[in-house]
């Protein structure tokens, strides 16, 4: 095996780790409400699809989404990622995760503790040697009040 072949294999392993790190960084920044830093993780022409929360094209629209929609959707959250499945092909990659999230949502009757579960089906691109989101797609499985569960109330009472 040549040095070039070895380097190519090492680069794939490094890229998988970098993509996982990018996804975890996204989570910690969101949970710390650092919205400007979150938007910097996206490529300029990236797309984000958040199911019932809407779809957003371009880094600016995504930044606005985080500052105006996400910041009001919950007052506190911890996003917990599981089951990473990252596939790298050159300067592009795909990554799937499950998310299991504890969140506090404001409501007219007062704050509510919520369990949220869903799946991310994301795409990534390497720009100037750094991985960025080119597509973030989140599909919700349930958003249920802590004391009810997904059978009684799977989507916020809907």
């Amino acid at each position: 095996m040549s040095l070039e072949e070895l380097e190519a294999r090492i680069t794939v392993l490094e890229d998988i780790e970098e993509v996982k790190r990018l996804m975890a960084t996204y989570i910690y920044l969101i949970d710390d409400s650092q919205w400007d830093d979150v938007a910097d993780l996206f490529a300029d022409n990236a797309r984000a699809e958040y199911g019932m929360l809407g779809s957003y094209d371009g880094k600016e629209a995504i930044a606005t989404f985080f500052k105006e929609v996400v910041s009001k959707a919950w007052s506190w959250a911890v996003h917990q990622l599981l089951n990473p499945l990252v596939i790298v092909e050159g300067e592009r990659a795909t990554g799937r995760w499950y998310i299991f999230c504890a969140a506090t949502m404001p409501s007219p009757e007062g704050d509510r503790a919520m369990w949220i579960q869903g799946g991310y089906d994301n795409e990534f691109i390497k720009v100037d040697g750094r991985w960025k989101f080119s597509m973030l797609r989140l599909v919700f499985n349930f958003i249920t009040p802590y004391d009810e569960g997904w059978v009684k109330s799977g989507m916020m009472g809907r």
């Binding site: 070895l6 380097e7 090492i10 996982k20 989570i27 910690y28 990622l81 504890a102 802590y146 004391d147």
Partner: protein
């Protein structure tokens, strides 16, 4: 790229994996109360900070915490760690994780099922080729009775 440079890149990937294994070993050992083996995962002069459960220094301090404080606090737990971000620099490293842990907490009125969530911001050092904790810092987000949730009762003291 030289063989030496490739080896250095592989070493970083191996170190990241070793540190993830160290963190997982910590969790599995704590959950089966193999506390001597837990203490062995720490460097001689390591420090552990557990928020309201106190801070402990050195192997003797850590042994006190794991053999006296923990068994008197909980009878069962499953430490689930998520969202790893591990950064290696030579013989030192940092690692962040979320913890999502169901635990049975001892209580005079009867044992209580409790959900614990928090964040580890740890530091590691490589000693004689083996990674050890040099600092374990845990910050609680909630420790809430199963029947209540973090909005009603974020921490047992509140």
């Amino acid at each position: 790229m030289s063989l030496e440079e490739l080896e250095a890149r592989i070493r970083v990937l191996e170190d990241i994996e070793e540190i993830k294994k160290l963190m997982a070993s910590y969790c599995y050992r704590v959950d089966v109360f193999q506390m001597d083996d837990v203490v062995d995962l720490f460097a001689e002069n390591a420090k552990a900070e557990y928020g309201p459960l106190g801070s402990y220094e050195g192997k003797d301090g850590l042994a006190t915490f794991f053999k006296e404080v923990v068994p008197n606090t909980q009878s069962w737990s499953a430490h689930q760690v998520l969202n790893p971000i591990v950064t290696v620099e030579g013989e030192k490293a940092k690692g962040t994780w979320y913890l999502f842990c169901p635990a049975t907490v001892l209580n005079p009125e009867g044992d209580r099922a409790v959900w614990i969530q928090g964040r580890y911001d740890n530091e590691f050092v490589k000693i004689d080729g083996r990674w050890k904790f040099s600092l374990l810092r845990f910050t609680f987000n909630f420790g809430t009775p199963y029947e209540e949730g973090w909005v009603k009762s974020r921490m047992p003291e509140e």
